[in-house]
């Protein structure tokens, strides 16, 4: 071991024929060489017995930086943050057994949100597999349904090929996490290096180019539409910044309104007048009413998630639906569509723009103008309205805290991550994203504890950017140990806690659906977050009333160190608008501000059928 290392940066000189078996690199060294060839510059990980050979090889090179986390779950979320904010594959390195099982939540999170990751796990030596050896777990068995694909390397000769293939599978098609399980003897024994293969994969060949006939069919539907909507999702973000540019071009070209899922925020600029805000359970009134009444819907890279559709049999009942997705299994999964386009979002948008320009059918501009009038009426409800008292000593409304934070960060390169719950929805509603890859949240899995490690990963990838984790006081405690990582690597992440002393979304549902019985949702025995920050070598700040808020935000942003800002907010505030479980888009509930118009909320508007839904 180690003989090979000096050549890490000049690997092109080393070809297989030069390597006699006695000088052949160890599996660990070959692994690192493959990672470098894949463009890896940083790994998030945690050492342990089975991966010691990799850590030894890491120690003796400087091409790849290792960020030591404090818990393996955080390594995966950090890699997700890195991946989502850069468009590159995030890399995780953990040990066997508990290292691998701790990573599982992060892997499922990445699977649900289509984040490209390669997770390297140590494994007991091949001759001990199946023996219940120390720190042995059936990692490929456990993660088979938690990954896009996984591998157990049993032969040294396969190692380099498998690593290259893992990156290919992770980043292409619908991206996702790929796990490579590495027995310790494979890491120690000599392993030949192989360059990435130029030949296409034998069985895995995702389709990226859309069928021109479907594009033409889609354009024909859209040209004749009177009440169109473009509904975009995370697929546009995954297709890269080019897809976001093309989306803007397409929406401008057509004059259509555009809405986005939680995962798609930032793909279309939120400040543009054609943007209706987020749709779905806590989407804007206008976005959801448009979805209900539209006659032609273009779904770009979204998956008709249950948070978006509400009750399926009442979802957008009168519309022709066009669904563009890179994953054929997304088509007709929950909503039957009239025109399915399989392909990459950027390629699909490019094809749509070209076809739109070539199709000579005139657009129904009068109908579109009427549609916009209707939309403006819905917009005038101002469904995100709330009232913040400015009297001295007033309680801070969480919505106001987000708005003030947004205002204070405008003009700076800002990335926002979140945990999961009310604060996440308020962040999605009140923080406005004009660029893709700047909003990172756990959408599909809804993983509390995602935001802090994800922010860490973003800050590692963008050392000079402003990275904020908008958190709740309950979620933040799920991975609070990562404060140590922030301190060690001097990552100036800002943790902005909307502290309402409740698991707010649980409390909201208990209020609305379970007769105000707040079963186990009170955050009792909270730490003093200011002292907690200080004990982790960070800065702790607190805003107790509205008078403190702007000063605390300004102080937080001015400090070039990690900060926890503990923002004490209204404990009773709920997230509105809300489509209750089992309800349709046009049965959405508006907040107390709109009581006069909507009659206010009663728990009775949730059906028995809706009660079983999440």
């Amino acid at each position: 071991m180690g003989l090979f290392v000096p050549a890490l940066n000049g690997m092109a000189e080393m070809d297989g024929s030069m390597m006699a078996s006695e000088t052949m690199a160890s599996g660990a060294e070959t692994l690192l060489r493959a990672l470098v060839a894949q463009g890896v510059d940083v790994i998030f990980g945690y050492p342990g017995g089975a991966v010691l050979p990799i850590y030894d090889a890491l120690f003796q090179q400087d091409a790849i930086r290792h960020v030591l986390v404090r818990h393996e779950q955080a390594a995966v979320h950090a890699a997700e943050g890195y991946a989502r904010s850069t468009g590159r594959v995030g890399v995780v390195l953990v040990t066997s057994g508990p290292g691998a099982t701790n990573a599982v939540t992060g892997l499922v999170d990445a699977l649900m949100d289509s984040i490209p990751l390669v997770c390297l796990t140590g494994q007991v030596p091949t001759h001990l597999i199946g023996n219940d050896a120390f720190q042995e777990a059936d990692t490929t068995g456990i993660t088979r349904q938690a990954t896009k694909h996984n591998y157990l390397v049993k032969q040294s000769a396969d190692l380099a090929r498998v690593v290259h293939e893992a990156f290919h599978v992770a980043r292409t098609g619908r991206p996702g996490p790929v796990l490579v399980d590495l027995p310790k003897d494979i890491l120690i024994n000599p392993a030949p290096y192989a360059e990435p293969s130029a030949a296409p994969h034998a069985s895995y060949r995702p389709r990226t180019t859309p069928d021109p006939a479907r594009i033409a069919q889609a354009v024909a539907l859209l040209k004749r539409s009177e009440r169109p909507i473009v509904y975009t999702g995370g697929g546009v973000i995954n297709a890269g910044p080019e897809a976001a540019k093309l989306l803007l071009e397409f929406v401008r070209l057509t004059g259509f309104p555009c809405t986005s899922t939680l995962m798609g925020l930032g793909a279309y600029p939120a400040s543009d007048p054609q943007f209706l805000g987020m749709l779905g359970m806590h989407g804007t009134y206008e976005a959801n009413m448009v979805m209900h009444d539209t006659d032609v819907m273009l779904n770009m890279g979204a998956r008709f998630d249950d948070r978006v559709t509400g009750r399926l049999n009442a979802f957008s009942p009168g519309s022709k639906k066009i669904h563009a997705d890179i994953d054929p299994s997304s088509i007709n999964k929950s909503v039957t569509v009239d025109c399915a386009i399989i392909g990459d979002a950027a390629e699909t948008l490019r094809a749509l723009i070209t076809a739109w320009k070539q199709d000579t059918t005139p657009q129904n501009r009068d109908a579109l103008a009427k549609w916009w009038q209707q939309i403006d009426f819905w917009r005038s409800k101002n469904s995100l309205r709330y009232t913040q008292s400015r009297d001295a000593g007033s309680v801070i409304k969480p919505q106001y805290a987000i708005e003030q934070l947004y205002k204070a960060t405008r003009g700076r390169e800002t990335f926002v991550t979140t945990e999961v719950g009310q604060h996440q929805m308020w962040a999605a509603q009140y923080f406005r994203f004009d660029k893709p890859n700047h909003w990172l949240t756990s959408g599909g899995l809804g993983t509390m504890g995602y935001g802090l490690p994800a922010a860490m990963g973003v800050q590692v990838a963008h050392p000079d950017a402003l990275v904020i984790d908008i958190a709740g006081e309950a979620s933040i405690l799920m991975n609070i140990q990562e404060m140590g990582t922030l301190a060690q690597y001097r990552l100036p992440v800002k943790i902005f806690i909307l502290n309402n002393q409740y698991m707010g979304m649980v409390r909201q549902w208990q209020e609305l659906l379970h007769g105000n019985r707040y079963s186990e949702s009170y955050s009792a025995a909270l730490p003093d977050f200011v002292k907690l920050a200080e004990s982790f070598h960070a800065v702790g700040l607190r805003a107790e009333t509205v008078d403190d808020l702007d000063r605390v935000i300004a102080e937080m942003l001015a400090v070039d160190r990690p900060v926890i800002a503990d923002i004490c907010v209204d404990q009773k505030e709920n997230v509105y608008p809300m489509i209750p479980s089992g309800a349709a888009h046009n049965e959405m509930l508006l907040g107390p501000e709109h009581k006069a118009e909507s009659g206010g909320y009663t728990g009775n508007s949730v059906t028995d059928e809706g009660m079983v839904l999440i």
Binding site: R144, H149, V169, S203, Y204, S329, I331, K333
Partner: protein
């Protein structure tokens, strides 16, 4: 609801069957029968034949989800791709004596089941055919001393010259 016979050509690697079965159990799809064996001389590819049932939407989902698995080469819905042949083999043990034993043997001849083992009190029949033929034979054997059954599940292939590859 409809029944579907789906052929899946997969890379013959460890864990591939677990991926397919995990997909069915994880997503709540039915497996009525499943067979798997290598079909290439170099053992590189295996063919899995799955008989499943569900609504048209579910069966389309099953095919799309199977197609998404990395080691899957090809997914073919034989029940939708024109005429196909589906056959199953069963080994059937019938225990009895006297008239029932005679009757079992007569019926076996009528169904072209082969006697592959016999003792003074038992037969083992080997029967090949479509699943409903096997079912019919088993129904007849039940009152005649049917003691044990081992079925292979369905192997299926398209008629004519078209192939899965």
């Amino acid at each position: 609801m409809r029944s579907a016979t789906i052929s899946v050509l997969v890379e013959n690697e460890s864990g591939v069957l677990a991926r397919v079965i995990g997909l069915f159990s994880g997503r709540g799809y039915n497996i009525d029968s499943l067979t798997v064996a290598p079909v290439e001389r170099d053992q590189r590819q295996s063919r899995i034949t799955i008989v499943t049932s569900g609504t048209e939407m579910v069966i389309e989902q099953i095919k799309a989800q199977l197609g998404r698995l990395v080691p899957v080469y090809r997914v073919l819905d034989l029940s939708r791709e024109g005429p196909h042949l589906a056959r199953e083999l069963a080994l059937i043990k019938v225990v009895g004596s006297g008239e029932a034993r005679q009757e079992a043997l007569r019926l076996a001849e009528a169904f072209r089941a082969r006697v592959i083992d016999a003792s003074t009190e038992s037969f083992v029949f080997e029967l090949t055919g479509a699943s409903d033929k096997l079912d019919a034979f088993l129904d007849l054997m039940r009152p005649l001393g049917l003691a044990e059954v081992s079925r292979t599940g369905v192997a299926a292939i398209a008629r004519g010259r078209s192939t899965i590859t």
